[in-house]
Amino acid sequence: MADLMIEAHGLVKRYGNFTAVDALDLAIARGECFGLLGPNGAGKTTTIRMLYGFTPRTAGTLQIGGLDVAERPRRVRALLGILPQEDNLDPDLTPAENLRTYARYFDIPAAEARRRARDLLAFVGLHDRANHRLDELSGGMKRRLLVARALLNRPQVLILDEPTTGLDPQARHLIWQRLRELKAAGTTLLLTTHYMEEARELCDRVAIMDRGKLLRVGPPQRLVEAEVGAEAVEVRAAPDVEAEVRRRLDGLAHHSERSADTLYVYCEDGRAVQAALADLPLAYLHRRAASLEDLFLRLTGRGLAE
């Protein structure tokens, strides 16, 4: 890959004895949308903070746009737009003032900042809130304002830490649509998310991360097909019936796992599984396409991470 926008080799972050990020390799092409998936505490946010030079790395190399992040932090951050996980807007300023104040950090002249603030507020659907008090904005509006703020410097790389967590479906779809537009315009996107649907909607490639390591990297659909199969059948049955279910699945499923009261059966042909179980008294049977979430749970475990 000739045109790499983000390139990390052997990236490590250690806190005392705890290794938050463990020998991470990343190669993200210009214009790509890359998703970082992982349970809480997997090291996603630490990785992102290293990317923009907020957190110093313990070891490894890290370049953005060909620049070493540790050596040229100001130049690197001028290329980046950051959407933080937490709301860190200026609560005393209106949305328009928030953007104009933030634009100054990038040395954007006042008249230009005013133009960009107006355009970006329209872009995220907040043009009619430009001069409202910030505490009159809903959580979703603040999130959209943060997206607008991250775009002020026309970043080449947009880094989004859980862009739609806590948003209603309308706001989520608006943000997705805007991110697709930015991608179409050539912006490189790196996002973390807990929503597999979001990763599938937006990402060319995803990485599944757990305990500081990348477990898998690749296009979401291909990863699912290669590792999980085409379909999943969810079965709930009494213990004696379940034993019979498992016996009949032999040869039909390439993998099955039990979590709480449900048996998850992964296979190429769900209809055949359904037919094989047709005469059994099952409490519940549901056939669906295998998803990224299945792969995610398989790799990172079904127990709570925290």
Partner: protein, 260 residues
């Protein structure tokens, strides 16, 4: 950024100062009333109320005697409040530092900008207080009054740096109560603003001489009278050395706190 690296402050610190001004504009009137109310109260209550019983000190009316010290202390109080509460609010509660650190600014720029801002509020308050005491006819020397301006800037920067250092180590808001009641208030009362320290035993004078405010007040009193200060070089050093030391310490501690 290395924790012990030399301060890497650039002109971009001004951006943080501008941000604080944008935010402060909304609270302009309330804030000025709050921070000026107290010194004016002291001037009227002590200068004219108590002053009636005191008579004259060193050939001046009591109000005239305390006016220069009150000007300097107005700067100290405002720089202290902004540097402690304001800095802590932005650094910890509002996550303003996190937001700015995603831009080309560095943490050193942000800390310097916040310190500069606290100093500006101190100097502004000092200047307004100077205008107030001048309005009461309590400044004898016009040239001295002009020289009070750079002195107030020095005192404001010093108390801003000290306050930011306190914010750097504070774990909660109560911490600032300790700093103000245990450090700033004693300085206010025992730095020669309200009575000459020469009446006190030598050991008290020695302790007072360690307080930078004592030096600022003695300089201010001399300038307002239009006389030469006793030890100008020593007094200036007593203001500037703790300024540099506390700023560097604040930078190191804030780097240690935020960069992880």
């Amino acid at each position: 950024m290395r924790r012990w690296a030399a301060p890497g402050v650039t002109w971009r610190a001004v951006r943080v100062w501008q941000r604080n001004l944008d935010s402060f504009r909304k609270y302009l009137l309330g804030s000025l009333a709050g921070s000026l109310g107290e010194p004016v109260l002291y001037l009227v209550a002590m200068g004219y109320g108590l002053g009636n019983f005191v008579g004259t000190i060193q050939g001046q009316s009591y109000a005239e005697y305390i006016a220069p010290g009150l000007v300097v202390s107005a700067a100290m109080w405002a720089a202290t409040f902004e540097g402690t509460y304001g800095t802590y609010l932005r650094m910890i509660h509002q996550k303003t530092y996190d937001a700015i650190l995603a831009t080309p600014l560095t943490l050193d720029d942000v800390v310097a900008g916040d310190t500069l801002w606290a100093a500006s509020k101190g100097a502004t308050n000092g200047i307004i207080m100077l205008a107030v005491v001048a309005g009461f006819g309590l400044v004898r020397s016009a040239g001295g009054a002009l020289l009070l301006l750079p002195l107030m800037v020095l005192a404001s920067v010093l108390f801003a740096c000290l306050a930011v250092l306190v914010a750097a180590v504070a774990r909660n808001w109560e911490f600032f109560n300790y700093y103000i009641t245990l450090v700033i208030s004693p300085l206010f009362f025992f730095s020669g603003i309200f009575f000459p320290l020469s009446n006190f035993p030598a050991w008290v004078q020695t302790i007072a001489a360690l307080s930078p405010l004592t030096h600022a007040v003695s300089l201010a009193q001399a300038l307002a009278r239009g006389t030469a200060p006793d030890h100008p070089a020593v007094s200036l050093l007593a203001l500037m050395v703790p300024t540099a030391a506390s700023f560097c310490a604040a930078l190191v501690l804030i780097r240690r706190r935020l960069i992880k």
